[in-house]
């Protein structure tokens, strides 16, 4: 593979390294670390399922946005206010 050997491979290669016992995964300029779970295989951090938790972040965000717009007022409190309003209006 002559094309490759001419290139500067030094900074280009990802590395798995042990730094005083810490396990470190690194990449070079503009290079990513990618986790690609399959439909049935999971990426787990400790006992946690990474994909599941990450989709929970979005669910949380959506819930928060809903609360911001529609309020986090429980139905019984809303009822109470409506009843009060009716009462006050009919006084």
């Amino acid at each position: 593979e002559p094309r490759r050997s001419k290139r500067d491979v030094s900074n280009d290669q990802p590395r798995m390294l042990s730094d005083n016992g810490h396990l470190v995964f690194t990449t070079g300029d503009n290079k990513d670390i990618r986790f690609q779970p399959s439909a049935s295989g999971r990426v787990k951090v400790g006992s946690e399922d990474l994909s599941q938790l990450l989709s929970q972040i979005k669910v949380n965000k959506d819930d928060i946005d809903y609360i911001k717009t529609h309020g986090g007022v429980p139905p019984d409190l809303t009822n109470k206010i409506n009843q009060l309003e009716t009462k006050v209006t009919t006084l």
Binding site: R4, S5, K6, R7, D8, V9, S10, N11, Q13, P14, R15, M16, L17, S18, D19, N20, G21, L23
Partner: protein, 341 residues
């Protein structure tokens, strides 16, 4: 010249594993906890368990990586524990661990040059090469504060800036690849004298020779070439030169005229600029003009070496004026010399 470090710390190199084979899917690959190592990985490997050193790294070429299987690979066997061998003791100043060539191209083609021990390890004006697709670990300990060279190339990158290289040496990879009491420095000028330059490794003579075990010699008058650690059987030819002499051109000439001939197939010939005054240092402050030392060895008690020496002398005498050669003579371990002509 280009000097290439021979050993590597590549995962695919069978000789780096104590069971003589690269681990497969049912094997346990163990790197000793306290051995620092930078491992180069070229392809994908299955493994049952890998224990990493506490300080170490795996450099993954594109397409390289690790995976595990539940069934195992065909032909892998029941599984063994195999240990990555220790490269801790490999020293920069060990002449057996280097290959020399005049150009990068010849280095890649395997046209290596023979040299005396001092010149087998990198000289101050040399370009040092660690193979692009490899990693390594080398002990650069020296009695000198530093060991200067022209350039160092590793992982395909050429370092010629002193600051850039010293920065690399202090990186995680640098610490894993180079260790020892003194450092390699780059940026030393290359040799710009066509007649060649003094290697500069006489200051490291003892250190270099401490790595060499000399074979017993059985010739009548064993020779000790300048810059060599051992007495040898063969010939030392001396070329006196003037302006216009080009060492590299002359080295090529000798190769094309003689070394490619079948009768000289087993001959080793090394050429270097030396100052014989070194021999008398400490006794008489005697400055000799530099000359070219040609060391010729063979596997037949020096008989081929002597024949080649005569060929070289004849060539020098008939074409010397064109080559910038003013004189030539030799001394053979048989006791013969060019004086007897």
């Amino acid at each position: 010249l280009y000097k290439q470090w021979i050993p590597d710390t590549n995962y695919e190199n069978k000789t780096n594993w104590d069971k003589g084979d690269v681990p497969c899917s049912s094997d346990r690959a163990h790197f000793p906890a306290q051995r620092k190592v930078s491992v180069f990985v070229e392809t994908t490997h299955a493994v049952q368990e890998m224990r990493l050193p506490v300080e170490g790294e795996f450099i993954l070429l594109s397409g390289a990586g690790f995976y595990v299987t539940s069934e195992g690979e065909p032909g892998c066997g029941a599984g063994v524990t195999t240990n990555f061998k220790d490269s801790e003791g490999l020293r920069w100043f060990d002449p057996a661990l280097w290959q020399a060539a005049a150009t990068l191209n010849e280095l890649q083609q395997g046209n290596f040059l023979f040299s005396v021990h001092e010149e087998s390890v990198p000289c101050q004006y040399d370009d040092v090469v660690f193979k692009a697709l490899s990693s390594f670990r080398v002990d650069t300990s020296s009695s000198q504060p530093s060991s200067p060279v022209h350039t160092v190339s590793l992982l395909g990158k050429v370092f010629n800036s002193p600051s850039e290289f010293s920065q690399y040496l202090s990186s995680h990879s640098g610490h894993l690849q180079f260790h020892g009491s003194s450092a390699i420095t780059v940026g030393n000028p290359s040799c710009d004298d066509p007649s060649g330059c003094d290697c500069g490794n006489s200051v490291n003579h003892e250190q270099i020779c401490s790595m060499v075990t000399c074979a017993a010699v059985s010739c009548k008058k064993p020779l000790l070439p300048v810059g060599h650690c051992c007495e040898v059987c063969g010939v030392i030819a001396t070329i006196h030169y003037s302006a216009g002499f080009n060492l590299q051109t002359y080295r090529e000439r000798i190769r094309h005229l003689f070394l490619i001939l079948p009768q000289y197939k087993s001959v080793q010939l090394g050429m270097s600029k030396v100052s014989k005054s070194q021999r008398f240092m400490g006794i008489i402050p005697f400055i000799a003009s530099p000359e070219i030392q040609v060391v010729i060895l063979d596997k037949e008690d020096g008989r081929q070496s002597e024949a080649l020496a005569w060929d070289i002398l004849k060539d020098a005498r008939s074409h010397g004026s064109n080559l910038g050669i003013t004189g030539a003579e030799f001394q053979a371990s048989s006791g013969n010399s060019s004086d007897q002509s």
